[in-house]
Symmetry: C2
Subunit: 230 residues, 2 copies
């Protein structure tokens, strides 16, 4: 049965961009499971599956409804153990949490700084009216003020990725010889940036950019199938 993935979009239903939804899309493809993306705007999340979650992704798999990207990945490995593992065992399930926290606290804040105004511009009118005051309250500044700091923060952001860059000298994927869920975690964050903004996060020739290109090509080019922001 086809799994439904409630997937965040802006005005254009064909440009899914949420980092957390991308993690799940890649995880579903990794498992070789059929899935259908259900384009969902911020103001529609409250109606998803009877209001099961304040955020997407949400998946519906037959009678099961699961929320939260990490929980969904664990669910998929437990429910479909005969398909390729997302974690490579119990140690990987645990250590992926560290990498998820690193990505959330290192990559996500700078993508927000770089792209929050682009994300605003992607929304339709109703969602724009909701997004700006919501985010400005959370960030404590106007969206314009947030983005004004991005050039000054870029070098420090690139330096903060050094653990990943250094790791790539040892192995081609965070998952080792092949990608695992933590690759999709960090990919999701950078794909979010790629889809929403033309601002260049990674320097040309950065080994992380090479790894990201390999991620874009995975699963018949699932990530690459959405063009980068112009």
């Amino acid at each position: 049965m086809t799994i439904l993935l409630y997937d965040l979009v802006g005005a254009d239903a064909g440009r899914p961009y949420s980092p957390h939804c991308w993690k799940v899309a890649m995880a579903l493809a990794h498992k070789g499971l059929d899935f259908q993306r259900v384009p969902t705007r911020f103001l529609e999340i409250a109606k998803v599956e009877g209001g099961i979650s304040k955020t997407v992704p949400v998946i519906r798999d037959g009678d099961s409804k699961v929320i939260d990207s990490f929980t969904i990945a664990l669910y998929l490995d437990q429910t479909y153990p005969d398909r390729p593992s997302l974690f490579g065992g119990q140690g990987g399930e645990a250590m992926a949490r560290f990498i998820e926290r690193w990505s959330q606290l290192t990559v996500h804040p700078f993508v927000t700084k770089a792209a929050v105004l682009d994300i605003f511009e992607m929304q339709d009118q109703d969602n724009k009216a909701w997004f700006r005051p919501d985010r400005e309250a959370k960030l404590g500044r106007s969206l314009e003020e947030v983005v004004a700091g991005r050039d000054a923060g870029l070098a420090a952001f690139r330096a903060s990725l050094e653990p990943l860059r250094s790791m790539l000298k040892y192995q081609p994927w965070i998952g080792g010889e092949g990608p695992l869920f933590p690759d999709y975690i960090v990919f999701g964050a950078l794909q979010w940036a790629r889809v929403v903004t033309s601002y260049q996060l990674l320097e040309d020739g950065d080994p992380i950019a090479d790894w990201f290109e390999r991620c874009l090509a995975l699963h018949d080019g699932l990530g690459a199938s959405i063009p980068a922001a112009a």
Copy 2:
């Protein structure tokens, strides 16, 4: 047969302090393997097992000699698969490399900044004469200049540990419900600091300090058996 662990010490042979050697000591204890620490000073490393490595740890296990802490941990899991795993599967082996790179690039530079002069003071005369010029060339400054920056860097260092702090809201160990090798990786770095310097790296009440105390108590208090620097 007892495994030999060539283990870095200063003038006092009873105070092993190397972060990488501590990773291996904890790993050997985790596996429940008998081992004997062979106190080794910097200038003695060239003679260890016929000069097999420029650094310690080195282990000798029967006819096998293994160098490099991460390689040793992989060797132990492969050689003693029936004893408690250090990685919890192939995914864990891969993801532990990311955490090792994070620890090396986040924790180690600040411990060096905080403690390099204390490490110098722990050495005997011959090793002092070697250590200062070696480290000053690597660091590009006098040891005194390096340490002078520690107070100014402390807040940023504590903030840089946020991925670990945040992860501890989800699970008690990097390894999940129990410790795995990545716990020993980060423990090794903080135990290095604990043994060599009285400078306080972690704030009282930091959840990372609680985790570190739990690490000190593991394996019959192996870590706690060496008193903190006074």
